[in-house]
């Protein structure tokens, strides 16, 4: 009988993946922008720091509820659909975490390399893009992939505001089938099956990175 509901669960999984994809995309763009600004000691650095601290500090669940229920109380024009609320909250949170990873990765490249570029007349932005970023990306990747996995695993929180992602869909199916153990187990297996390859990928990048560093002697 559960097979009848499999398409619904897969649709829920599709919604979960869509929210994850959009949150990762917006979060990564925002995170790179904020991370580079933070690294370059730009005049906006204080504002960037405040943004990062706020969104690192607020749990995603609180953020979801705040955006969905509190913002409309402030102004009716701030009513956002539950889907976009989920994408917004996930993206804001992800951008803060990714900004920290980017900033940390950029700072892991010896400062002298940046100085060498600046003294040769290379602009700060060019130095970041051509010298610092290509080296630090290898260091950042495993942490960024882990962050992507975290975002994916946080998406079911959107069920609290009625988004029809996999957990919410599963809940509705349970109402009809009275089979919570089976449904939640299937959902857990879905997550495990999708997260495991990403975990393996992150570990393999990390291993390759450590090995190539040893070979290059850097």
């Amino acid at each position: 009988m559960l097979l009848t509901y499999l398409p619904a669960l897969l649709t829920g999984l599709g919604m979960t993946l869509l929210i994850t994809f959009l949150s990762i995309t917006f979060g990564t763009i925002g995170g790179i922008f904020l991370g580079v600004l933070s690294f370059m000691n730009s005049p906006l650095r204080v504002l960037v720091r405040i943004y990062i601290e706020i969104f690192l500090g607020i749990p995603v669940l609180v953020l979801l509820i705040w955006v969905y229920y509190v913002l409309p109380e402030i102004s009716q024009s701030l009513i956002i659909s539950s889907f976009w609320t989920a994408v917004l909250a996930m993206s804001l949170s992800a951008s803060a975490f990714i900004a920290e990873i980017i900033n940390g990765g950029l700072r892991s490249v010896p400062k002298g390399q940046m100085d060498a570029a600046l003294i040769l007349g290379i602009s700060k932005l060019q130095a970041v893009l051509r010298i610092v970023l290509p080296q630090s990306v290898r260091i950042m990747w495993p942490a960024i992939i882990m962050q992507y996995i975290t975002i994916y695993k946080l998406v079911p929180l959107a069920s609290t505001i009625g988004v029809m992602e996999i957990l919410h869909t599963g809940g509705l199916i349970i109402h009809k089938t009275y089979a919570p153990i089976t449904v939640y187990t299937i959902i857990a297996i879905f997550f495990l099956a999708t997260v495991y390859p990403l975990n393996v990928l992150a570990r393999s990048i990390q291993r390759r990175h450590s090995r190539s560093d040893l070979l290059n002697g850097v």
């Binding site: 000691n41 010896p110 002298g112 390399q113 100085d115 060498a116 570029a117 600046l118 003294i119 040769l120 007349g121 290379i122 602009s123 700060k124 060019q126 051509r130 010298i131 290509p134 080296q135 070979l215 290059n216 002697g217 850097v218």
Partner: protein, 228 residues
């Protein structure tokens, strides 16, 4: 001396925590007057070079490039150089080569990104030839020996035809034979009008090259101290 200095530090103060490394220190570099800066570890040799190159902020005082105040350009040496038309080359103690780029890319990157001619011109071949890097152009810095890395860093500095070259312990990893070759190319650059400021612990350096030898072992609050 009536000539205007290329770089002038005026009443510089530099502190690290509670330690006063430089206190009301003034210093000038004149075109063609090469300087050797010596002194024990921790006496401020590298800090002095970095302050002159605008890579290290001062706590007080003014820095002039060709008479123009560039103190507020700290952290933006390229902009200061563009404004004053004073080109500076800097080879650090750690070489600071870019490990993800080949030797050739390391040498030519600055010319490439600034839109200058970065083709294989005579200067490029002359520099890599004299510094014995011709056979290593496609290698990455991690595949080079310490001495080869040092020569690569020197080549990267010389390719942009600097007016002043700051060398921070740049010959520490070169054997005697290669020091001779490094000095050959430096001599060639000197002939083109560049001025060398060298920080070194080494005692076997051709000191006759230098118009001024500065020992930072002495109190650093006077002008033009320790003239040789």
């Amino acid at each position: 001396m009536n000539q205007k200095p290329l770089i002038r530090l005026e009443s510089i103060c530099k502190r690290f925590g509670t330690a006063n490394v430089f206190d009301n220190f003034s210093h000038s570099i004149y075109a063609g007057k090469h300087q050797l800066i010596t002194g024990p570890s921790g006496c401020g040799k590298t800090t002095l070079l970095k302050m002159m190159a605008l890579l290290e902020p001062t706590n007080k005082g003014t820095i002039y490039y060709k008479g123009t105040d560039v103190t507020n350009k700290h952290g933006q040496p390229g902009i200061a150089q563009d404004i004053t038309n004073l080109r500076i080359g800097y080879v650090s103690q750690d070489r600071d080569l870019w490990p993800h780029l080949t030797v050739q890319e390391n040498i030519l990157l600055a010319l490439k990104v600034s839109g200058r001619d970065y083709s294989y011109n005579d200067t490029f071949f002359k520099i890599v030839g004299k510094l014995k890097l011709t056979d290593h152009l496609e290698k990455r810095p991690g595949d080079l020996s310490g001495g080869q890395q040092q020569r690569c860093a020197i080549a990267r500095c010389l390719i942009h035809n600097p007016d002043i070259v700051f060398l921070d312990e740049s010959f520490a990893n070169l054997d005697e034979e290669n020091i001779a070759s490094a000095f050959e190319i430096i001599d060639a650059v000197v002939e083109q009008g560049a001025t060398i400021v060298l920080v070194s612990h080494r005692t076997k350096l051709p000191t006759k090259l230098f118009s001024k030898i500065i020992n930072l072992d002495t109190p650093k609050s006077t002008e033009g101290f320790c003239n040789a």
